[in-house]
């Protein structure tokens, strides 16, 4: 078993290093293949572990070596594969494998082919560290690791230059990358603080020991830790107000968006909350707060997706919104539900993104959906996949999304948090609408792409085959709900619906499905027959513009933080450091020199002046004595 753990963990590292060897060489197809295989190996190992744990039911733990030992702090590279980890590992490696294979197609004509795979595998490695580590600091390693990889990958096309916001909402890849990194850093500080609290109160950061001794802590301390950790989670999972980076992160190559910014990294926050369930189940109020934040983000992001024309951004917002769902579930204490939705979402959202990748290729990297349409003909398979994914996303029976999302709504209902339930319910409708708005805009209606002279073509066969597993899972995953539950609840607290809810379930399901279908229908009516734009509406409707400009939040951040910070820095340097601090130092020196210059004038070369000074000296000395007498 240990070996399997190591294989699962280090295969990606090996693949990354292998690719790195050729990072500066022109494209080598072999690199793509080898890395894909290595990630595949990692996938196999993970699945084997999953099955093994499934039957044995007990976790596999290994300790690699010591890391930091100072004072009483003793932190080791330790890894534990329990039910939750196994699930996460399988999901991560599965999506990664698919994305790796797909990238061979997507990046085939990119000159930095090898570099891309090196980064991508490095990301997988960091993600594995994140989910497998058995202590908070190990998690933090992965946490930062994925941050850097996402920085590298968002900024993959670093040579593109900065645009203004109206040309490109996310100024440039490198800009978006930095934004993502810094935003995450803000959250990471919270995470670090949480770790410090844990260490100084429990003397350890190992999950098992920490959770075993939580009872030693005062409730206030628990709340503090809970909030600090959640702040960390907010950054990675792009929860409000740290959400802006995710949409901008779409500057990265589409496979990256599929893997990092939909399926895996952004769910790390959810994973953290699930992982820390012993903590959060002791502080329901924080849990409730988390749920509220999640719910808010769910509808907030969905609303922005309604009007956006950028293919990838729409999906990005939907990711945000789905993350909101997960947090809602986790916050309400239904950890396994959150995990379930996490997995399901990973599958269909990755599928959706990869489909978007096909479309982009077909459209020569044109992202504006208003310039597409009628692609169904040329890109049947892509249409099929994306349609499927959208259905799943909208939560239509019998697709995975249906099961996971409905359960979340049931939970919300069961907790008597009807506000949350209602919001999520509404969001379900919006979700359905924007997903299918997208589908119809892209695949139905008049073929607007002629205007931009695109010649759409279907993706290569192996790319389409690569998407198959995701599609299948998006369909069937829901039916494994029961097995999933009894598997993960060996570790996670089982969440039981009350009698009352049980009676209501079918109604809830009905209601939800109803609104989802409504959304789809509205979308169909509005967009399937080609695009009829109401420019007047687009330009003058306040609400539309508000949503289209993401509630002006990026601009606000620009104005409220980025700019003042820059100006303040300039002041700090020019005004304070140069004008005050340094000037004082030089001023002292100057003062000394001036005094010298003045006093040397007394030395005017004239003898009688000298003699007068001598006499004056006598008086001076007398004065000193007199004074010193007086003082005494």
């Amino acid at each position: 078993m240990e070996n399997l753990v190591y294989i699962a963990l280090f295969a990606p590292l090996v693949s990354s290093l292998f690719a790195a060897l050729f990072a500066q060489k022109p494209k080598i197809q072999l690199v793509g293949i080898v890395t894909s295989i290595l990630i595949g190996i990692s996938l196999l190992a993970s699945v084997t572990l999953l099955l093994d744990i499934h039957e044995s039911g007990k976790a596999v733990s290994v300790t690699l070596m010591d890391w930091i030992q100072a004072g009483d702090m003793d932190i080791k590279f330790g890894f534990t594969v329990d039910q939750v980890t196994a699930v996460m590992m399988s999901v991560v490696t599965l999506v990664s494998t698919v994305v790796h294979v797909y990238s061979n197609y997507y990046m085939e004509s990119d000159k930095s082919f090898n570099r891309f795979f090196s980064y991508l595998s490095a990301f997988v490695f960091s993600m594995m560290v994140l989910v497998m580590s058995d202590n908070f600091l190990g998690l933090f390693i992965g946490w930062e690791g994925v941050g850097v990889c996402s920085w590298l990958l968002i900024g993959f096309w670093y040579e593109r230059k900065d645009e203004t916001r109206d040309v490109n909402p996310s100024i440039s890849p490198s800009w978006a990358a930095n934004e993502a990194f810094i935003m995450n850093r803000i959250a990471d500080l919270g995470m670090l603080v949480g770790i410090f609290m844990i260490y100084w109160n429990l003397g350890t950061v190992k999950y098992s020991e920490v959770f075993a001794h939580l009872d030693q802590l005062s409730h206030g301390m628990l709340v503090g830790i809970g909030i600090a950790l959640f702040i960390g989670a907010m950054g990675k999972s792009a929860q409000f107000p740290l959400h802006t980076w995710l949409a901008d992160a779409m500057e990265g190559p589409t496979p990256v968006s599929a893997l990092i910014h939909a399926a895996t990294m952004v769910t790390a926050g959810v994973y953290l909350v699930i992982r820390a369930n012993p903590l959060y189940s002791q502080i329901p109020e924080v849990g409730y707060f988390i749920a509220v934040v999640g719910t808010f983000v769910a509808i907030f992001a969905a609303s922005m997706a309604l009007v956006n024309r950028d293919l990838k951004r729409v999906i990005a917002y939907s990711t945000l919104s789905q993350l909101g769902y997960m947090f809602a579930a986790a916050g309400l204490g239904a950890y396994w539900v959150a995990l379930f939705h996490l997995a399901a979402h990973a599958f269909f959202k990755a599928l959706l993104f990869i489909g978007a990748g096909n479309v982009m290729h077909a459209m020569h990297d044109e992202l504006d959906m208003f310039k597409m349409g009628g692609l169904k003909k040329q890109m049947g398979w892509t249409f099929f996949y994306m349609g499927l994914a959208s259905l799943a996303l909208s939560g239509i029976y019998p697709l995975a999304g249906f099961f996971s999302k409905d359960t979340i709504l049931e939970v919300a209902f069961n907790e008597h948090t009807y506000g949350i339930w209602f919001t999520l319910w509404l969001t379900a409708g919006l979700t359905a609408f924007y997903s299918f708005r997208q589908v119809f805009l892209v695949f139905f209606g008049d073929e607007r792409y002629h205007e931009i002279g695109a010649h759409p073509h279907e993706a290569k066969a192996y790319a389409l085959w690569a998407m198959a597993p995701l599609a299948i899972l998006a369909v069937i995953f829901g039916f494994y709900k029961e097995d999933f539950v009894e598997f993960v609840t060996k570790l996670l607290p089982a969440y039981e619906m009350s009698e009352h809810t049980h009676h209501m379930v079918w109604i809830l399901t009905l209601v939800t499905t109803a609104i989802a279908l409504t959304g789809i229908i509205v979308a169909f009516i509005k967009y399937s027959k080609g695009l009829k734009r109401d420019l007047n509406f687009e330009q003058n409707n306040k609400l539309y513009k508000l949503l289209y400009n993401q509630y002006y939040i990026p601009v606000l951040y620009e104005k409220a933080f980025a700019k003042p910070y820059k100006e303040l820095s300039d002041i700090a340097w020019q005004e304070i450091d140069m004008q005050v601090v340094d000037a004082t130092v030089d001023g002292i020196a100057k003062a000394v020199e001036t005094t010298g210059d003045v006093s040397r004038r007394a030395q005017n070369g004239n003898l009688s002046t000298y003699l007068k000074w001598m006499a004056a000296g006598l008086i001076f000395v007398t004065l000193i004595t007199v004074i010193s007498v007086v003082i005494k």
Binding site: V592, E593, T595, G596, D597, S599, R600, A602, Q603, G605, L607, T609, Y610, L611, W613, M614, A616, G617, L618, F620, V621, T622, I624, T625, S628, V629, K632
Partner: protein, 496 residues
């Protein structure tokens, strides 16, 4: 009238042997010149050296704590140390006469005999605790010194001599007046008996005022000689006017002599712990160090800068007198012992680079610009000069660092923390102008007229002196301990 009769042995002339040796040496040189004129100066140099050698020998052979010449001569540790420093300084000075270029002053035999007379005078100052003898010695030395300066025989030299002389005369007046004041109340001119009288009558107010008044007059006289601000005015000009070695000499030997006097005289006041005098001295010293440093900052001429720097050094040391601790008193001698080599070395470096006529500046012989880029033309001299500068700045491990440290620690021990801090920060100011020269030598590109500058006045004897000075400056760490204990023992033995 009863005939006066006493036997010579009661004079205990041996106590005077060092001075007598120099005296005889001086006379011998005179006579030789009378008998056979225009002999080469090397003869006189060697003779002078011999004399000084013998004098040092005689000095070392003396046993401490004995008096002679009607008890006016006092041979104690302090006077021995004083004389040693005086003689050593003179020995370092004399060889500097043998330069490549011919200079007016050294061509006279009288120069050397006068020089020895001067040494004789200063020895007297150091070796006596009788105000009369001190005065006589002071004037002998000074008058000789004025002449020696004038003998350099340039316009500046004459001006320097006049300035020095006039102020000296005035200072003499103050000395005499001060002595009179003290004499008036104590009825004695021997310091030890003055001390005794003051001891028993120290709480009479009518007593205290003239005593303090006398002390103030003395401070003026002494301050003039050791160049405390504001009695220092002659120093920069005289140093500039006099020849470089003479300037270096003046920055040490007369000051040492006067320091000894100060120790003896103010020692009494410190004994009686008369706060006001202490105060006056400390304030003067602090003012001197600070102001001199500031003025040195803005000099364009290295020699003049060194003049101001030596003023500030004097102030630095002067504090030690007001501490009234053995450590303090011995630190004075340690400091001057180290300062002697470093400073004379520095002046000798100027001397070796001295031209007959100014070629760099219409007034100055040694403007900073002259040394620009010296490291390129003459690395070794540049390095040596840098060593001297760093030592003067008190950068370890060079010799003056130990002196500085010892004085500072003496100050700290006696609890004057503020003074210590001020003095310490002063060396931070001081380092600037020493660095200025180093910067010119190492970091600036050479001026066109270089080549001939550095060795303009080169001669073996000069190089020898500089070599010795540099050696002593660099290897200080090895001899500092014996030196320190030697000084401390002698000073302690003489009851300070």
């Amino acid at each position: 009238m009863a005939p006066i009769n006493f036997d010579l042995s009661s004079l205990n002339l041996v106590t005077m042997s060092p001075m007598l040796v120099t005296l005889v040496g001086a006379l011998v040189i005179l006579c030789i010149d009378l008998i056979k004129p225009n002999l080469d100066k090397t003869l006189y140099v060697t003779l002078a050296m011999l004399t000084l050698f013998i004098a040092i020998g005689a000095n070392l052979s003396l046993s401490t704590n004995q008096r002679g010449l009607f008890d006016t001569i006092l041979i104690d540790g302090v006077s021995l140390l004083g004389q040693l420093l005086i003689l050593a300084g003179s020995m370092l000075f004399i060889p500097l006469a043998l330069t490549k270029r011919k200079f007016h002053d050294f061509s006279y035999p009288e120069f050397f005999s006068l020089f020895l007379f001067m040494v004789f005078g200063f020895q007297f100052m150091a070796a006596s605790d009788n105000l009369i003898l001190i005065f006589v010695g002071l004037e002998t030395g000074s008058l000789a010194l004025y002449t020696l300066i004038a003998m350099h025989n340039t316009r500046l030299a004459h001006e320097a001599a006049i300035k020095y002389f006039t102020m000296g005369a005035m200072a003499a007046g103050f000395f005499a007046m001060g002595a009179a004041a003290i004499y008036a109340v104590t009825g004695s001119v021997e310091i030890f008996s003055i001390a005794a009288v003051m001891q028993e009558r120290q709480n009479e107010i009518g007593m205290l005022i003239p005593v303090i008044g006398g002390a103030l007059f003395m401070i003026v006289a002494i301050g003039f000689k050791v160049s405390l601000i504001p009695f220092h005015m002659w120093t920069p000009d005289t140093y500039e006017g006099a020849s470089a070695p003479m300037a270096g000499y003046m920055s040490i030997v007369p000051k040492v002599a006067m320091m000894v006097v100060a120790i003896r005289l103010f020692g009494v006041y410190m004994e009686l712990d008369i706060k006001v005098v202490k105060m006056a001295i400390i304030v003067l010293a602090v003012v001197t160090t600070t102001a001199a440093n500031m003025m040195a900052l803005v000099q364009e001429d290295v020699k003049r800068m060194l003049a101001y720097s030596s003023i500030s050094h004097a102030g630095f040391v002067m504090v030690a007198i007001a501490l009234d601790t053995t450590k303090g008193y011995s630190s004075i001698f340690l400091y001057y012992g180290l300062f002697l080599f470093t400073n004379l070395g520095a002046f000798a470096m100027l001397w070796i680079s001295r031209h007959k006529y100014n070629i760099h500046h219409d007034r100055f012989h040694h403007p900073y610009s002259k040394f620009a880029g010296m490291i390129k033309i003459a690395p070794i001299p540049a390095v040596i000069m840098a060593v001297f500068m760093l030592s003067l700045a008190g950068v370890p491990p060079f010799s003056l660092f130990w002196g500085k440290m010892y004085v500072l620690s003496a100050i700290v021990d006696s609890g004057h923390y503020t003074v210590a801090i001020i003095m310490a920060l002063n060396s931070a100011i001081a380092v600037y102008y020493y660095l200025k020269l180093i910067v010119y030598m190492f970091l600036k590109s050479p001026a066109d007229n270089q080549g001939k500058v550095v060795y303009a006045n080169r001669a073996f004897s000069l190089e020898l002196v500089i070599g010795i000075a540099a050696f002593v400056t660099i290897t200080s760490v090895f001899y500092i301990n014996p030196l320190m204990s030697f000084i401390t023992d002698l000073v302690g033995a003489s009851g300070y």
